[in-house]
Symmetry: none
Subunit: 194 residues, 4 copies
DNA sequence: AATGAATGAGTATTCATTCAT
DNA sequence: AATGAATGAATACTCATTCAT
C-alpha cells in the first residue's frame, strides 16, 4: 500500500540519509543541501523537520543511542552467573554492531566527538552504561569484579567496547569467528577481574 | 639574545597555536585566519609554511605523534620482568599525557578522527604500538600474556590507553593518586593475562 | 505588471551585467562580487545559477555567439548573385555589430582569447563560419572565388571581419558612411577573387 | 667561456621565461613566483629588474615588437615593382613568425589584448605598420592599390596578417608549402587591388 | 507540509610586492 | 645585485538558513 522509499515519511528519509552521509563524509563534510538531495527532498524540507544542522545531528545521535540501548535491554538476562550475563551482553553488543554497521560506525565517530555537545554525550553514556554500572556494582559485591573506582571502570569498559567493535567493523569476517569473539570478551572480562 | 616568543621561528609559532586552537574549537571550527592572527603572523605566512590547512593538521599530527613515540622510547627498559616494564611504560605514558595535556588532548581528538587520512593514522598507530607489539609477543612467549590474536590485542591496548588518559585528563587530580594510577594499570595488565 | 529591471529573472540580469563588466575590465579584472553587486543580486545567487566564473563566461560566450549566428541566418538570402549575397551578409554582420556594440566588443575580446577553452572556440567558429564555408564552396564552383585552400580562406574571412568590425567599433560614425561600408566589403570580396 | 644558461644575465632569463609562460598560461595565469622559479632566480630578483608584473609584460611586448620591426626592416627592398616588395615583406613576416613561434604566438595573444595598455598597443602598431602605410600610399599613387581610406586599409592588413600567421602557426607544415604561402599572399594582395 | 531560489557572512587560498640580510 | 621569508588585501566559492509561493 505504501511505497517502499517514498511512503516512509520524509523526516525518516532525511535521518537515514544523514546517517550514511555523516558516516562517509563527516559532519562538516556533509552539506545540508547534499543530505536533502540524496534524501529526495527539497533543501527547505530539511529545515521544516529539524531546526538546524546541529539539531539534526543531535536527534540522530539520540535516536541511534536509544536503539542501541533498547537492543541491549532486550538481551539482558536478569538472573544467573554474572560472567554469563556479561558475555551475553558483550557478544550481543558486538552482534548489534555487525547487524547495524552504519549505526555502529556512527557511534564510533560521534560518541566521543566534539560535534556532540558534552552534556548530550554524557547523558547518552550514562543511559547506555547504566546497565554496565549496575552489573559492575553487583559483581563487586559478589567479589568477582575488582574493587576499583567505578568511574574508571566505566570509562575502561567504554574504551574496550569501542576498540573491540572498531576491530570487528574493520574485519567483518572475524566477527563470525568464535575464537575472535571469545577473545574479545576475554579481554574485557579479564580486565575487570579482582 | 633571542626573544622568547618572537625568536622561535614563525613556523613553530603556527604549529603551537594550531595545536591549541584545534583542541579547543575543533579542526573545522578553527579558521586559518584565526590561527595566523593568534600566532602573530600574516595569513599568507601560514600558507608559506604549510600548503593547506589539511597539511598543517597532518604535520602537526605527525610531530605530536613523534614526540610521544620518542618519550615512550626514552622510558623503555629493555630488561627485567615484563610486568614491570609494562607498568613503567603505562604510567610513563599517562604521565606524559598529564605533562603535555594539549598534546594528549590533541591525540584524543584526532588519533581516530576522519580528519586524519586513514594511511597516516595507521602508520602513526604502528609507529607507536610497535613497542607494545614487541612486548606482547615477548609476553606470549614467556606465557605471561594470553595467546590471543595480536591485532585484537593491539586494538584493545589502544582503546584502554585512550580511555585511561581520557579519564585522567578530565580529572587531573586523580592522575597523582596512587590508587587510581595503579588501578588503571591493573585494568590494562589484567586484560592481557592468560 | 512586471518591473522593467527587476522582473527580468536574475539569471539574465547576471549575464547582462557580466557582459558589460567583462568588456570594460576584462575577465580577470572583474570579480564575481562586483558582477553580483552590479546586477543587484547576492554573491551566492551568481553561483546558484552558474557553477563557476569560468562557466559564466562560457555560457555568455555561447549565448552571444548564438544570437549572432541567428542574426546572420535571418539575413541570408538563398538565391541570386553570390556577390550580392555576400554583401548582404557582410554589411548585415557589420550592422549587427553596430547595433549590439557590447556583444560585438565581447566577441572581439574573447573569440580568440585563451580564456575560452579551445574546443568551445572552435565549435563557435564552425557554427558561425558554416554559412561562409558553404558560400565559398559555391563561389568556387561558379568560378567567382579563387580556388585556394578552404581553411585558409575561412581564417582569412574571420580575420578580415574582426578587423573591419574593430575599425567601425572604434569609429561608430563611419559605420554609417556609405564609402567606408562599401570599402570594407570591397576589401573582403576582393581578397577572395580568383 | 660563458655558461649557456647561467651566463646569460638573469634579466634576460626572466624575459625569456616570461615569454614562454605567458604564452602557455596567459598573463593572469602566470604568477611572478612561477616565472622566477622557472627562470632559476629568487622571487625578489624579478622585482629588481622590473618594477611590476605589468611592466614586465610591457617591456617584453616592446622588445618582441622591436625585434619584429627590425626583421621587417632588414628584409625591405627599397626599389622595384611594388607587388614584389609586398610579397617579400609578407612572406618574410610569415617566415619570421615560423622561425620565432614563441614570439609570434605572444603577438597573437597580446597585440590586441586589454592586458597591454591602449597607448602602447597603438604605438606598437604604428611602428610596425609604418612600413605598410608608406607602401600603401605609394601603391595608391601608382594606381596599383585601391583608393580606400588608409586607416581602414591598415586595420585590414593587420587583420589579414594575424589570421594568416595564426593559420600557419597552427599548421607549421603548411608554412613550407609553396601553394599555401602563395595563397596567403594572394589573399592579402588581392584585397588591396583597385 | 513542501519547495527551491535567494541570501550574505564566512573561508581557504593566491599572489604581487617588500625588505632585512 | 640577489635572496626568499613575510605580508595582507583580494577573490572565488560554500553553505546553513530563510521565505514567498
Amino acid at each position: 500500500m505504501v511505497k517502499q522509499t517514498e511512503g516512509v515519511d520524509k523526516r525518516s528519509q532525511i535521518l537515514a540519509t544523514a546517517l550514511k552521509l555523516f558516516n562517509s563524509q563527516g559532519f562538516h563534510g556533509t552539506s545540508t543541501a547534499s543530505i536533502a538531495k540524496a534524501a529526495g527532498v527539497a533543501t527547505g524540507t530539511l529545515f521544516h523537520h529539524f531546526p538546524s544542522k546541529e539539531a539534526l545531528l543531535e536527534i540522530l545521535f539520540l535516536s541511534v543511542k536509544q536503539e542501541f540501548a533498547n537492543a541491549l535491554g532486550a538481551m539482558a538476562v536478569p538472573e544467573g552467573e554474572l560472567k554469563q550475563q556479561a558475555r551475553t551482553l558483550w557478544l550481543g553488543a558486538i552482534d548489534w554492531g555487525m547487524e547495524n554497521p552504519d549505526k555502529q560506525q556512527f557511534f564510533q565517530q560521534f560518541s566521543l566527538s566534539v560535534e556532540i555537545p558534552l552534556p548530550l554525550r554524557e547523558e547518552a553514556m550514562q543511559g547506555i552504561l547504566g546497565f554496565i554500572g549496575a552489573m559492575i556494582l553487583e559483581g563487586q559485591k559478589r567479589g568477582v569484579i575488582a574493587a576499583l573506582p567505578l568511574p574508571l571502570l566505566l570509562e575502561n569498559c567504554h574504551g574496550q567496547y569501542l576498540s573491540a567493535s572498531r576491530f570487528f567493523l574493520d574485519r567483518p569476517a572475524l566477527a563470525r569467528d568464535e575464537t575472535h569473539r571469545e577473545a574479545s570478551f576475554q579481554l574485557f572480562w579479564n580486565a575487570l577481574r579482582p
